[in-house]
Symmetry: C2
Subunit: 158 residues, 2 copies
């Protein structure tokens, strides 16, 4: 029988994207192809599925595995969307049969001098010792670096 | 145009229910009629709707108004359910047209000497100045008092 426990923790990441507009940053969350590139794909990861229904009450589901490891799944529900300004979503992560966390993520987007500031706040519940906030924060920081690459790519393609 | 802002805050409520078992406390969350009595109904409140699909990925929706005031709605998504032990859900609240908050709620249930301990942790994002953590915590404390009355009622009916 699994020993049950919950650890709650919050972290905040601030990242400024030079030469990007709030509209371009928001697009990278709202457009399925763009989101897939920076949020789901990655060196060594096999994507098993990716669906996204970007609206309040809509669900985003992705499943992937790293170098033949167990399936990792993310199920996200969009609770609040303010175009070019804000997203609030809740997501749970599972690895194989284990639900490892449920988190509330708030993304705030605002214009700054010569670019766009993104503030990400994650309020998480880490379940049964399967995950922890340090690991999650590190993973999210990598994602927001991948977003910088995606924004550059979209600018080059324009 | 609405001035956008988000305030993040966490609170925790511990409440011991004497003479109740974890199964009885869990039942009051899992059973639609019981949940409606303590969670939705209340003196002076008109219930416009209440639906509940108690399973992981399922949704609970309630709409109500206080003495002819604006409609208040709660939309809850169940992310994690461990029978008799734990619930993790995310919920958003709206008043009229305004979404006032999105929160992650964790309910932990455990047997204690002669009763059951419930620990509720809420990690909230309060939107655009429409609500605040002190008010939310006070509201939740009232709900967990109403749960005590419901548990007594269910014992009397047994």
């Amino acid at each position: 029988m699994t020993e049950r426990s919950v650890t709650h923790a919050t972290f905040r990441i601030e990242r400024t994207y030079e030469a990007a507009t709030p509209e371009q940053v928001f697009f990278a969350f709202a457009d399925k192809a763009s989101k897939r590139r920076w949020f789901v794909e990655g060196e060594g990861w096999q994507i098993d599925s990716f669906e996204m229904d970007f609206r309040v009450g809509g669900i985003e589901r992705s499943s992937f595995r790293f170098q033949g490891g167990p399936q990792v799944s993310n199920e996200t529900v969009y609770h609040d969307i303010v175009e070019n300004q804000r997203l609030v979503c809740a997501y749970s992560m599972t690895v194989g049969e284990d639900r490892i966390s449920v988190s509330l993520g708030t993304i705030e987007i605002s214009a700054t001098e010569g670019g766009t500031k993104l503030v990400y706040t994650e309020q998480g519940a880490y379940l049964d010792g399967h995950d922890n906030v340090a690991q999650r924060e590190a993973g999210c920081r990598e994602l927001y670096e991948a977003l910088a690459v995606e924004l550059q790519r979209n600018r080059n393609a324009a």
